[in-house]
Amino acid sequence: MTPADALGAKLLAQMQAAGAQPVAADILQPAETLLDLYGEDIRARAYVTHDPALGEMMLRPDFTVPVVQAHMREGAEPARYCYAGPVFRKQSSARAREYLQVGYELFARNDPARADAEVFALFARLLAGYDLRPVTGDIGILKAAVAGLDTTERRKAALMRHIWRPARFRALLDRMGGQGKLAAPRAELVARLRTAPVAELVAQAGPVIGLRSMAEIEARVQTLLEDAETPPLPAGQIAALERLLALSGPARDVLAELRAEGWDALTPALERLDARLQALDAAGIDTQTLPFEASFGRTTMEYYDGFVFGFVSPRADMPPVATGGRYDALTAVLGQGRRIPAVGGVIRPETLIALGGA
């Protein structure tokens, strides 16, 4: 047993002592589920192989998806699960391709604030002996801010789809404000589409080939023409959204700043943040000093849609020691109609060993 295996076993035992039931997951997972969830990008990060009978399979890049699937099939509620085992990720640098993850997942319908606090406080306790910086965030606040923009549902949906791709999100926001490098090509396209009925334009352009039908082309042209009539996103709202995305500081201070913005659409999300901070206080976490970064979790953790957290090493060359968060929407996607609020996280024992301490 390597030191990392031993540490993994110890962490797993501590999670069991906290009430979690140990679960196992296959290393070979059907690729299709993960590709549909994460998109084609995951091929660059996960190992895909081929089975003659089952088709494309993936070496598990994480445990969350199989654990959620198992819970949706047969789990009782509320449920706490823990697991330990290797995951596999492609790397272009010298970072490990195969490494251990020890994880804890909590499925509970009631009191999400308390569930968030339970998971975070457990991780804080397990990692207490190491020199790590905790960081928290809340994707739910970003989603509430987008939902609260003064614009069409269609534009909000387009922005919501790209919350996890900050550069693309920014480019869309600019275009909707009539600014940026996408604005001119869009204006030219709309001008051309206004010159004649769609059927005529298509007839001039070429035969309709492929699966995408004439009706789909017409529908998008209609969407484009309608969108062109929509007033640009108010500059003040874009600026407010940007201030929000840049917020960083002790959690209580950030909450106060967000309240001071006076943005009504944020109120329910801020109430949830407040409730979470109270639950964290009750769990022994000092929220006066707990770091909060509004954009945390936007680039690496696509399925998290509420509370997010990490424990990061002061050494920049090290991956985060632990990451986690709330993923209510993921359970709905995997549950085929059923859903259950869920929050969890993982620890990387090898990174802890490399850092020393404890």
Binding site: G39, D41, R186
Partner: protein, 243 residues
């Protein structure tokens, strides 16, 4: 001492143009032996051995350090080698073998001109058909990196090793990503190129292998680089991988 190995394409226009390019620098590359034998020689410089290879194998031979220098398309190096910049150094673009890797969609898609449009269409297509919009290509790595950099989502790459322009009509893809030099095949298949910058502008390029044994090749490297007009420091630049 071992010879410094120079890998060049073994046939066709790419080989002829490569020979011309080196001739322009006062070096004669020639095939030796029987007509169908893949053997060659370099005249005008000592200690350099010519290795004739398929252009598609040159990236791998460079990455393995089995050849010191190699001529191949810049697209093949980027597509074949993970972390290509760590494996090879780009010494000189050679001014021939130009081809753009582009994304094309049916001309009838009057609502699509840019990646911004393609991304919106991919979302609508998935909602309508229940699967991700398919892009046929053989350049998986280049295309995926490009689409990720531009934030395109809800697509999938489907492999196409040939006749890629026909996949849309055959209903196996909705868009394609392929190499084009004149665009004639695209036009004949009722396709148009997106207005954004191409995925990659490829041309024949002289590459150096960071992992090859430059020490044992002795002074042949320095002599060759001097002849090609490359700075003296080139070798140390090759052997110390970029950060």
């Amino acid at each position: 001492m071992m010879a410094l190995k120079l890998g060049v394409p073994s046939k066709g226009r790419l080989m002829d143009k490569t020979f011309d390019w080196f001739a322009g620098h006062g070096l004669t590359l020639r095939r030796t032996g029987a007509e169908r034998e893949y053997a060659g020689a370099v005249d005008g410089i000592a200690g350099v051995e010519l290795v004739l290879l398929s252009a598609s194998e040159i990236p791998r031979e460079l990455a393995a350090g089995r050849i010191h220098l190699g001529v191949t398309g810049s697209d093949l190096v980027r597509e074949t080698l993970p972390d290509w910049q760590g494996a090879v150094a780009e010494l000189a673009p050679m001014g021939f073998g130009h081809a753009d890797l582009i994304i094309a969609v049916p001309k009838a898609w009057v609502d699509v001109e840019t990646l911004d449009d393609l991304d919106a269409v991919a979302a609508a297509f998935r909602a309508c058909h229940g699967f991700r919009l398919r892009i046929a290509t053989k350049y998986h790595r280049l295309v995926r990196d490009y689409l990720r950099a531009h934030g395109v989502a809800d697509y999938q790459l489907v492999d196409s090793q040939g006749a890629t322009e026909g996949t849309i009509k055959n209903l196996t893809a909705e868009a394609i990503a392929d190499i084009t030099s004149t665009g004639e095949t695209l036009a004949a298949n009722h396709l148009k190129i997106l207005r954004d910058a191409p995925v990659h502008r490829s041309q024949a390029t002289l590459f150096a292998a960071r992992g090859a044994d430059w020490q044992r090749a002795g002074s042949a490297g320095a002599a060759l680089f001097a002849r090609l007009g490359l700075p003296e420091a080139t070798i140390s630049g090759i052997t110390s991988p970029i950060a």
